[in-house]
Amino acid sequence: MRISRVLALTLALVMMASVAFAGPSYDRIMKDKKIRIGIMTDSIPGAFFNDKGEWVGFDYDVATELSKRLGVDIERVKVNNKTRIAFIQQGRIDASVANMTHTREREKSIDFSITYFFDGQKVLAKTGKYQSLADMKDKKIATMQGTTSEINVKRALKAMGVANPAAHVISFQKESECFQALQMGRVAGWSTDATILLGYASKTPGKFELVGEFLSDEPYGIGLPQNDSNLRNAVNASLQDMWRDGTYMTIYNKWYGADTPFAMPMSGSIELWP
């Protein structure tokens, strides 16, 4: 008797917990007056903790500005390159501003805003040692697992005639691990988005440099839940407004301006709808 009661209770609990709560994110954001945005914690200067323990960075500022334009409060959720897409899929966050390249494969799982940042993939190597990726095709290259850079490097190596590109690429879980591998000489180069590389190279001035051409374009988009066009439109409009009234460039120059360690000239313009 007792057992059956326990079983019935458990089943009932399980069913109750599975009552769907998700709905269009936009309606919920506007109702609760709160948007949950995923931001990275160790991507310099995208979003990171500075030496005072404050969370700062370009993405951080863009996310803050975005919530302001939407007229809602922001709840910042820490994500990494592993969790940022899963969190959107699960409804854990409403948007992810986490230097995420807009790709067709990702488009199958989540939606993206218009491109809000223009980056490209390069290779970082010890100063004066190599001219381009072709010079290090017999050596090892570090990348981060599960990123577009990993695939791009393998493709580039294959195009250069490397028989087994996978054997020449070591994929780590974190950017810092890639950089450490480069520092200790385990790999000849580390390839990922140029801004990230610049951030790391600036830590030890003169020791490392970007080599070769861009391996790819990396248009960054804000990750959004699938099929919620209200939210996507609102985010896109906010980004365009930021660009139009100059707020975007203010934020950009704060992190990538000429007098910053990560100086990078602006190389594109946000898609503006009339």
Partner: protein, 594 residues
């Protein structure tokens, strides 16, 4: 009435089958997962990447098998050496072995792997580093790190096994005139091995599961490949399922072999061999054959010569005496050499510490201890506590929760009623057959899918750790209960106590007392295992150290050493406490000289 029916095996079987069918039906057809299952990604070629992920996952499995085999060999050989060294009379050797064992037992494997991969090559000269990097450095680092880590645990198992031999047996052996080597070969090792095989077997299994961490240094093992599939296709559920099934099968194979070895060593004379034993016997046929042809005659010849010598009476000639002297001198020299090497090591260690940038440690230590407290942002639990404190909180939550689950599942596992026993068994084996990291991913992917809701990654991590630990605790509980003499249960039942009364008043109080030392050992493991939840981005000690390392970049050695010490100290204190308890609970235990 209900109890009468529940005691019948066919009723139990039917209930289980009905429950199984109902849940299969419910989860398979009724329940809306809100998740788009795409199993074909596991066996078709992906258009975007031109890869067959199934093949990639199998490649990962092959690498896992290789790492497991090699690291097992390293583990058992180094473990035997360390275990014997810990029983040695030569104090410096004894202490060194103790230090090594304690260090590896009380530091997370993740931290050790980072150390071996990132810090160790820095200590080598440029040329040595080049030479090292010519090899498959990632593979060998992972293999050695896992092997050495395992060896520390094996050393303890082996030492305990050697010490478990009754003192009387040894006295009898020595007084009957056997030499030390003979006693070791004929009495100690055979007896000890019988004791050691089951715990050694679980160490082999742990070793296999530990190899899953090789991915953090970029080794494309099974876990890495599963992650890769998830990262490229966002189909984590399918990828983790595939990895899980493969890990489980591999665990079962290892368990099968260990069972065979165990059965063979217990030399079942009743003529009925179990399947695993027959398998091992089959494997041993060629070895036996070679042994018969090559070594058998040699051994017989030697034995005959020894017998003749013995019959000839005791004669010692000068050459033998000389040899004995030479041996003593040799031992002395090797002891001296050992001391010299030790002194050199201590010196370079001290020099390394002297050259540390201590100001960095001093400045960042508060951050490592509490992270952002009290500057909580958004999704932070516990007022923004992180780093060491968060590791500690997660460990404590997991310890408390897992204790109750473990107790219930353990009771279920030792129950005679199949309705309780079989689900408990499935739970235990499912969890124990998988690496913790896979369990973490399971909880992480499964909770949103099952409950259509999300939870904070901290809770997700705590739940995973709890479920994982509970399975191990359940096995400890079962062992504790089985150690109580059956006569006590019979006496209790015949004096009219019910099952719960028997358990509560007779069995559990005694069993729990026996279980305290292994349970404390488990708690040490949980605290160390919190380092793994860093894969979910939880800001515990390992993540914080990584974040700091990421920001400073110039003080990796200092930061990782500090992290290792922060893990090591609480674990050491707990293990010392466990030792103390063990001694207190069994005062008759005497350490014997071997």
């Amino acid at each position: 009435m209900l109890r009468y029916w529940l005691e019948k095996v066919w009723v139990q079987n039917t209930v289980l089958a009905v429950l199984g069918i109902i849940s299969l039906y419910y989860w398979g057809w009724v329940f809306d997962f809100g998740y788009d299952f795409q199993w074909p990604i596991l066996f078709t070629v992906n258009d975007t990447y031109q890869l067959n992920f199934g093949v990639e996952i199998l490649n990962g499995l092959w690498l896992t098998v290789k790492i497991t085999l090699i690291s097992s060999i390293i583990g058992i050989s180094l473990g035997t050496a360390l275990g014997l060294a810990r029983l040695s009379d030569f104090k410096p050797l004894n202490w060194t072995a103790t230090c090594i064992v304690e260090f590896f037992r009380n530091t997370p494997l993740l931290v050790i792997l980072f150390f071996f991969y990132f810090a160790f090559p820095q200590a080598l000269p440029e040329a040595g580093r080049e030479l090292l990097f010519e090899t498959q450095f990632e593979f060998w680092t992972a293999t050695f790190a896992v092997g050495i880590y395992t060896s520390a645990f094996m050393a303890e198992v082996i030492r305990a096994g050697l010490q478990s031999i009754p003192k009387g047996l040894l006295e009898a052996a020595y007084s009957s005139g056997l030499s030390y080597v003979q006693v070791l070969r004929k009495i100690i090792l055979p007896l000890a091995f019988r004791e050691i095989i089951p715990p050694l077997g679980s160490e082999f299994l742990n070793n296999m599961k530990n190899t899953s961490l090789a991915m953090v240094v970029g080794v494309a093992d099974l876990t890495w490949q599963a992650q890769q599939v998830e990262a490229l296709t966002f189909k984590g559920f399918e990828a983790t399922t595939a990895a899980s099934v493969l890990y489980l099968s591999f665990s079962l194979v290892i368990a099968f072999v260990i069972n065979g070895v165990d059965g063979r060593i217990r030399s079942s004379s009743n003529g009925k061999n179990s399947l695993p034993v027959m398998f091992i016997n089959l494997l041993l046929i060629p070895i036996n054959f070679v042994n018969k042809i090559l070594f058998h005659p040699a051994a017989q010849f030697l034995r005959q010569r020894r017998r003749k010598n013995m019959q000839a009476g005791v004669t010692t000639n000068t050459s033998q005496l000389l040899l004995k002297k030479l041996y003593t001198v040799l031992v002395l020299i090797s002891k001296g050499a050992f001391l010299l090497i030790l002194a050199g090591l201590v010196f370079s260690l001290a020099k390394g510490f002297y050259n540390f940038d201590w100001s960095v440690i001093l400045k960042e230590l508060p951050t490592m201890l509490v992270w952002q407290f009290p500057n909580a942002t958004g999704d932070d639990l516990f007022m923004g506590l992180g780093g060491f404190s968060l590791s500690f909180i997660i460990a404590i939550v997991a310890i408390f929760a897992s204790f109750f689950i473990g107790l219930i599942v353990g009771l279920g596992r030792s129950s005679t009623n199949r309705i309780f026993r079989i689900p408990s068994l499935i739970y235990i084996e499912l969890i124990r057959g998988n690496p913790l990291i896979i369990v973490i991913y399971w909880v992480y992917f499964l909770i949103p899918v099952l409950f259509d809701s999300f939870i904070n990654t901290v809770w997700s991590a705590a739940i995973a750790l709890t479920l994982f630990t509970a399975a191990y605790l359940a096995e400890i509980v079962r062992g504790g209960i089985q150690n109580i003499p059956p006569g006590q249960v019979e006496a209790a039942v015949s004096s009219g106590l019910s099952y719960w009364q028997t358990m509560r008043k007779i069995i559990l109080p005694q069993a729990l007392k026996q279980m305290i030392p292994p349970i404390v050992g488990l708690f040490i493991a949980i605290f160390k295992d919190t380092s793994l939840v860093t894969v979910l981005g939880v800001m515990e000690l390992t993540s914080v150290t990584k974040a700091l390392d990421n920001r400073l970049m110039i003080a990796s050695m200092e930061l990782w050493t500090t992290a290792a010490v922060l893990y090591f100290l609480p674990c050491l204190l707990m293990s010392k406490y466990a030792k103390h308890l063990e001694r207190k609970l069994s005062p008759e235990q005497i350490n014997l000289k071997m």
